[in-house]
């Protein structure tokens, strides 16, 4: 994203907007992770607490989920840059 066409005051406000958005994005990632790993790992509803197996699954799922997000993020950044290259300037 290239916001250089905006003036300084506008860019300052956009920066604040981005910061606020990052907080929201982080919370969204967190809730998505929890729901996804719960859905994929919790399957026994006869015991009130997570079984060892379920806990282990959640742990690995959380790790994998974060690594997946990171990897998508890297590819996304590369491809977005390429996409903008012909358009910018």
């Amino acid at each position: 994203m290239d916001f250089s066409r905006f003036n300084q005051a506008e860019q300052a406000q956009i920066a604040a907007m981005i910061e606020h958005k990052q907080m929201k994005d982080f919370l969204r990632l967190y809730s998505n992770l929890v729901q996804r790993c719960f859905d994929d790992c919790a399957n026994d509803f006869t015991t009130k607490t997570l079984t060892g197996k379920e806990g282990e699954c959640v742990n690995k799922c959380a790790d994998k989920f974060l690594k997946h997000s990171e990897r998508v993020g890297s590819r996304f950044a590369e491809l977005s840059e390429n996409m903008q290259a012909p358009g910018s300037q």
């Binding site: 719960f38 790992c41 919790a42 997570l50 959380a62």
Partner: protein, 86 residues
């Protein structure tokens, strides 16, 4: 405002930062509730709908399901904090 005096009830300032924090907290709790409702419906409710009541196994399943969702939520929270600190 108190500059001009006469205002016996002092006006309290609203800090927009605080409002944003409260809104975010509110939204997180609602979002958590909505996700639990959704996930536990899939996990516990038999969708043949032979009766409109929750039967005993469904009810028991919901209780456990909500408890386990909270546990997963805390587990992941602690994990993320450790990652954040390292």
């Amino acid at each position: 405002m108190s500059f001009f005096g006469g205002n016996s009830q002092p006006q309290q300032a609203i800090n927009p930062q605080n409002m944003m924090m409260a809104e975010q907290e509110l939204e997180m709790v609602t979002d958590l509730f909505n996700r639990i409702t959704e996930s536990c419906y899939s996990k516990c409710i038999v969708t043949k709908y032979e009766q409109g009541e929750l039967n005993q196994p469904e009810g028991a399943c919901i209780d456990t399901c909500v408890a386990k969702f909270f546990q997963v939520n805390s587990m992941v929270g602690e994990k993320m904090q450790k990652i954040g600190q390292s």
